[in-house]
């Protein structure tokens, strides 16, 4: 109870900030408890990794220098600054785990049909957050400017560049010229630490606010039960404590990865060197990368590129619009078909990702 912690301080703050209503809400709020409750924690896990990234990101800013000396500054963080390698390793691993957790969160809410009315905007804001997270990942990947970062960014930017007419123009603007240079680093840096956070954080607050407003959605199997049989636990302290414990487990997974596999820093990027044969984008872009490559192989020339982009974008648009064509439980048979659509999307993502890695040329040590 906060009163016992310092009643005077609390009442002083309460009078000025109006804490009581918030506290009452938190104490009254309940979280449904059923056999699928496990999936409720994944949004929180994603949030935890985001918080870790904010903290470690700010710490990296203390020593990182965008522009010509970017590589040297990361090298300094890695080899001279105390625990610099640890901060950087946590930042990079946290980024990957955040995207992974966001995918789990997205698919679990999809299959639990949490996007249905009145939660459409939760789905759309979540969709926006994941898209921004991927741009975060892409822009952050270039910043150390080692050879992998350089060539992966080069390959990554070739995806928008294949768009007819506007593609090359967009790619040039993003790069700040026809090649990846110090200009590109500065642009990506501004994107990574100013523009993206400025878009991400308000959207995140909207997302979290909507969760509070609508509460957790319950899966159909629970909705069919009479109200009296549905179980729930108090949000505070029960759910909060469990959430905290889950965060601690997540932190340990992060610590394990960060110390057992410290994020590597390759040799400085050399634009004149030949690209490594097995160059490929990060795993969360692998599926789109492979789909474009596959269509390019099936239909040579511009047609293939166009079809690849069309196929991929059609999938993304359908995915985003799912609350509109599966709006509520009355969907019935149609709702089950949408679930199958989810399985197909999941299968395509997994298969094309594995396929993408499988066809990478083996590189001799």
């Amino acid at each position: 109870m906060p009163e016992s912690l310092g009643p005077k301080v609390y009442s002083w703050l309460d009078e000025r900030l109006g804490l009581s209503p918030i506290l009452e809400l938190a104490l009254k709020k309940r979280v449904p408890d059923h056999k699928h409750s496990f999936w409720y924690y994944w949004g929180g896990i994603t949030l935890f990794f985001f918080i870790v990234m904010c903290f470690t990101g700010v710490l990296l800013l203390l020593y990182y220098r965008p522009g010509d000396g970017a590589y040297e500054s990361v090298q300094q963080i890695n080899t001279q600054i105390k625990f610099g390698w640890l901060i950087r390793s946590i930042h990079s691993w946290s980024a990957n785990l955040m995207v992974a957790a966001a995918f789990v969160h997205m698919f679990s809410t999809f299959f639990m049909k949490a996007y249905r009315a009145p939660r459409e905007f939760l789905w759309w804001s979540g969709f926006g957050l994941l898209s921004l997270a991927m741009v975060f990942g892409f822009s952050g990947y270039l910043l150390p400017m080692d050879d992998l970062a350089y060539f992966a960014t080069k390959v990554g930017l070739s995806i928008p560049a294949v768009m007819p007419v506007v593609g090359p123009w967009i790619a040039d603007l993003v790069r700040g010229g026809p090649d990846i240079t110090a200009y590109t680093i500065s642009r990506f840096f501004a994107l990574h630490v100013v523009i993206l956070p400025a878009l991400f954080i308000p959207l995140l607050l909207l997302h979290l606010g909507l969760v509070q407003q609508h509460g957790m959605s319950i899966p159909e199997s629970e909705q069919q039960k009479p109200e009296a049989e549905r179980k729930s636990i108090p949000f505070f302290p029960n759910f909060v404590f469990k959430d905290l414990a889950v965060w601690l487990v997540a932190l340990n997974v992060l610590a394990l990865l960060a110390v057992a596999f410290p994020w590597p820093l390759g040799p400085a990027a050399d634009p004149l060197a030949p690209a490594p044969a097995d160059i490929h984008p990060e795993w969360y872009f692998m599926s789109s990368f492979q789909i474009l490559k596959a269509f390019g192989g099936w239909f040579p020339g511009v047609v293939g590129e166009f079809l690849g982009i069309a196929f991929f974008n059609a999938g993304v648009v359908l995915w985003a619009l799912v609350p509109l064509f599966d709006p509520n439980t009355k969907s019935g048979q149609w709702g089950r078909r949408v679930t199958w659509f989810g399985f197909v999307v999941l299968a395509v993502l997994i298969v094309t990702t594995i396929w993408g890695y499988a066809v990478l040329p083996a590189v001799a040590h």
Binding site: D33, L59, L62, E72, Q75, T79, Q80, I81, K82, F83, G84, L86, I87, E227, A228, E229, R230, K231, S232, I233, P234, P237, N238, P267, A268
Partner: protein
């Protein structure tokens, strides 16, 4: 509406006020230990340049023992403060001294009299024996160079 038993209820039942106090102290202790654990690496990270500057200030000049006896085209390892350093007597009777910490991954490089170069065996990095410039291999920067003063049979190495 059936609910799971509320925890605060179940702890209250058997808990004396003593136990509650202990629990509070323990919780605060765990929290403090935790904050310290997370804070320590962050503090070291932020304070890194301060520590670096402090350790750099300690030693500015070192007299190399038996330095003057060093024959031509040979090198001698000595300690500059806490770090290994290298004194080289060149064929033309000039002298060089470097911090012997490879700028790549911190191994200790060695002078090779046959090739007249400084070589780091860890990843085959090569430095110029006169200037310390990184001429081949993975080292990203030259070796930091010291000033060498030879007088009265004494070799004194100081921060450049």
């Amino acid at each position: 509406m059936s609910e799971n038993q509320n925890t605060s209820g179940s702890t209250e039942q058997g808990a004396s006020s003593e136990r509650r106090t202990f629990l509070k102290v323990a919780a605060c202790g765990v929290g403090a230990a935790w904050a310290g654990m997370v804070g320590y690496p962050i503090y070291r990270y932020i304070a890194s340049p301060v520590e670096e500057a402090a350790s750099a200030d300690v030693v500015t000049e070192v007299e190399v023992e038996k330095g003057a006896e060093l024959p031509k085209n040979a090198a001698l390892m000595f300690k500059f403060g806490t770090k290994p350093a290298m004194l080289i007597h060149h064929d033309d009777d000039t002298w060089s001294a470097f911090l012997a910490v490879c700028t790549h991954l911190g191994c200790t490089p060695a002078y090779q009299p046959e090739e007249k170069r400084i070589f780091c065996p860890c990843h085959s990095g090569v430095y110029d024996a006169h200037s310390g410039a990184n001429v081949a291999g993975p080292p990203p920067k030259p070796l930091p160079q010291f000033k060498v003063a030879v007088a009265d049979g004494k070799v004194v190495v100081s921060r450049a």
